[in-house]
């Protein structure tokens, strides 16, 4: 089974009963499977007229009470940004899949990249938090798809599930669990006339009432007060925005997930994620055979960024490599967080997976010359 197909099956297992999407390589297989499978569980599949409309439909479906998902790639992800921001602002749970391809613009439709990771954080305008997950294999893809829906419901937020053409189209053997733990949005337990959809006085995540269940409230992208109605009052605006940001940042421990592989005795740590991490695993096997003590720090949650965990891991090694299939995006976060360890970037955005040989030779080169090299400053520099 391919990565894209796994997403669809996992979504349905997680309780997703609404999919609105639009064809775009290399994500269309998610739509194909949803089109076939959703009717069998009394779900709803709609192919919309474009990605903007898809996001709008997902928001509507979620407000009506359904777990809703859409899937796209770079150009479609760009189109979705305005509505994504609306979902953040109105606190509407949903899952947005982006199977990344070469960019920018039309780019390389049939080839992988990791070029949208910064856009996942800041693609839509204005201050907003976001959760983004990025699995590196198909078993993890299944788990993280389910997790994406759970986090969306728990935190009343869009969750971006990242993948790339490599993982999306590759085939791997994957075992589906018999059952998965699913969470649903916390509904209000007070009568409709007392309900405040954006209450700042209680929990950071206010309970969410679905349409058609007797609760009538106002949903808007305008800055609003706790009733949902628009407000330009400075105190209210600030309080709401603070709660919105804190909603995610205060729960990082619950939201963050990462893997540390071989870092216990490592001289070299390699930061990699998604398809890039697969190249790193290959390189690590070879380097370990050659006696090089190397380990990997692999975020599964890429937003919020795992500041503390990375800082701690970087402090224990002599150098931190950063391997990305883009021209240098997460490395900027790493430079923000890691101050005392040299950083070496291996950045490729050619549409090809990163060659493990390049990682191996960079490691050897650094071991020979590393002490004389300047700390990494220019992200586009070739490492060897």
């Amino acid at each position: 089974m391919s990565g894209n197909e796994v997403i669809a099956h996992a979504a349905i297992a997680a309780g997703c009963r609404f999919f609105a999407g639009y064809p775009i390589t290399p994500s269309s297989e998610v739509a194909h499977v949803m089109a076939e499978e959703l009717p069998k569980v009394n779900g709803c599949f709609i192919q919309m007229e474009d990605e903007i409309a898809s996001m709008g439909a997902v928001i509507g479906a979620s407000l009506a009470g359904a777990k809703a998902m859409t899937a796209t790639s770079g150009p479609g992800f760009s189109l979705k940004q305005e509505n994504l921001g609306f979902a953040c602002m109105a606190e509407v749970p949903c899952v947005v899949v982006n199977v990344m391809r070469g960019g920018p613009s039309t780019g390389l439709p049939t080839l992988p990249s990791q070029g949208d990771v910064m856009q996942a954080r800041w693609g839509t305008h204005g201050d907003h938090p976001i959760i983004a997950l990025y699995p590196a294999d198909l078993t993890e893809m299944y788990q993280q798809t389910v997790r994406a829906f759970n986090l969306a419901e728990q935190y009343r937020t869009p969750v971006i599930l990242l993948s790339d053409e490599l993982i999306g189209h590759m085939s791997e053997r994957v075992e589906f669990p018999d059952s998965v733990e699913t969470l649903k949005r916390h509904k209000p337990d007070i009568p409709p006339d007392e309900y405040l959809p954006y209450d700042v006085s209680g929990a950071l995540v206010p309970p969410m009432a679905n349409f058609f269940e007797g609760y009538r409230y106002h949903v808007t992208g305008l800055t609003h007060d706790e009733t949902g109605f628009p407000s330009e009052n400075a105190n209210i605006a600030e309080a709401q925005l603070r709660r919105l940001m804190l909603k995610i940042s205060a729960s990082e421990e619950d939201i963050l997930e990462w893997e540390e592989d071989g870092l216990e005795d490592a001289d070299i740590a390699i930061f990699a994620y998604g398809a890039g991490a697969r190249s790193v695993r290959s390189a690590m096997l070879r380097l370990r055979e050659q006696g090089v003590r190397v380990g990997m720090f692999r975020p599964v949650t890429i937003w919020p960024f795992p500041d503390e965990a990375l800082r701690a891991a970087a402090a224990r090694v002599r150098v931190l490599f950063v391997v990305e299939m883009n021209m240098g995006q997460m490395v900027r976060e790493i430079e923000r967080v890691v101050r005392d360890t040299p950083i070496v970037g291996i950045h490729r955005a050619s549409g090809q997976p990163i060659d493990p040989d390049e990682i191996v030779s960079t490691a050897h080169h650094w071991l020979e010359h590393g002490d004389t090299l300047q700390p990494h400053t220019e992200v586009f520099q070739m490492s060897v």
Partner: protein, 320 residues
């Protein structure tokens, strides 16, 4: 012995070169050659994302012998109107370089049904509303073929596509086709027409007329897709005529609001003749699906009756 008109068309050279990657039997390939050999105007083409765009511009080659721009999926019309408006302004200012060919520069926006009926509808409508002097040509093969045969609003009722699959309970696309030609005509533009490369004299005449009128024109052109339709490549021209002869794809034009049928089949063929050559409809021929076939035939008949009536009425009103 080919007609004089056909010889003249064939003598105009190849504005679209061979060696592109379109499938054997692709209707769109025939359309782009015919549309550019219809006249000898210098032409600029903007092309929406899709089969034609991808297959005619595989690096490091291009099949286009005319200036050609691919912008995005949804903005072929928007892009060409930018080129057209800027060019007019430059002409007015005298900033346009001298050309050997004194014929006026013409602007064509080209898109498949995906990039025209759905994601490109907004862009098309805006361009028509603003009245730019350009022609929008839609090659309609009834699905998003380039990305894997997903349904579009142009897909016929009952069609088996990857997002309207024919299963045990739901038998293909449940929605009727959108009438985009009527939507274009509702913008009150000088010229709107349907065409098929199976009737190339009618098609090329309409392209010339569309380019000649002052203002926006819209052509909706029937395009066969052997891959997506599961038809034989050698049947493509047969299908391009069968669609017309079964009245699935009536040929008409609307000139300054005046409707006129441009072709009437001598014998109206049953739609099953057209559908039987295509695997995307094979499930409709299974036992138990007779109602769907009847429904499709009845709808084609009803729409054709409407068009006949309209043609007759307008001829009477204009005392022809």
């Amino acid at each position: 012995m080919p007609s004089a008109a056909l010889l003249e068309i064939a003598s105009r050279g190849e504005p679209v070169a061979g060696g592109h990657r379109l499938c054997s039997g692709c209707g769109a390939g025939v359309i782009i050659r015919q549309m550019l050999t219809a006249t000898d105007y210098p032409t600029v083409v903007s092309n929406a994302t899709g089969c034609v765009e991808v297959c005619t511009s595989v690096y490091p080659f291009t099949a286009w012998n005319v200036p050609w721009i691919h912008n995005g999926f949804e903005n072929a019309a928007a892009t060409i109107t930018g080129a057209e408006a800027a060019y007019r302004a430059m002409e007015r200012r005298g900033d346009v370089p001298k050309r050997k060919n004194k014929k006026p520069m013409k602007f064509i926006a080209l898109g498949g049904d995906g990039g025209t009926y759905d994601i490109g509808l907004q862009s098309l409508s805006g361009a028509l509303e603003r009245g730019h002097d350009f022609v929008y040509i839609c090659y309609d093969n009834g699905a998003y073929m380039n990305t894997g045969i997903q349904r579009s609003s142009a897909s016929p009722f009952g069609a088996n596509t990857t997002t309207s699959p024919a299963g045990v309970v739901i038998q293909g696309k449940q929605e009727e086709r959108k009438n985009l030609t009527a939507i274009a005509a509702a913008h009150d533009i000088p010229f709107v027409a349907t065409a098929s490369p199976g009737y190339y004299m009618d098609f090329t005449r309409k392209v010339k007329k569309a380019l000649d009128v002052n203002g926006p024109a819209f052509l909706n052109v029937f395009a066969v897709c052997p891959l997506g339709w599961r038809s034989e490549p050698e049947d493509s021209q047969i299908l391009a005529r069968s669609s017309v002869e079964t009245c699935v794809w009536p040929l008409y034009e609307i000139e300054d609001g005046r409707f006129r049928l441009t072709f009437r089949p001598n014998v109206k063929r049953p739609v099953t003749e057209y559908m039987q050559l295509q695997g995307r409809f094979s499930h409709l021929f299974k036992t138990g699906n007779e109602d769907m076939l009847t429904h499709i035939q009845e709808r084609v008949d009803a729409e054709w009756e409407q068009l006949l009536k309209r043609d007759r009425r307008e001829r009477e009103e204009n005392s022809e």
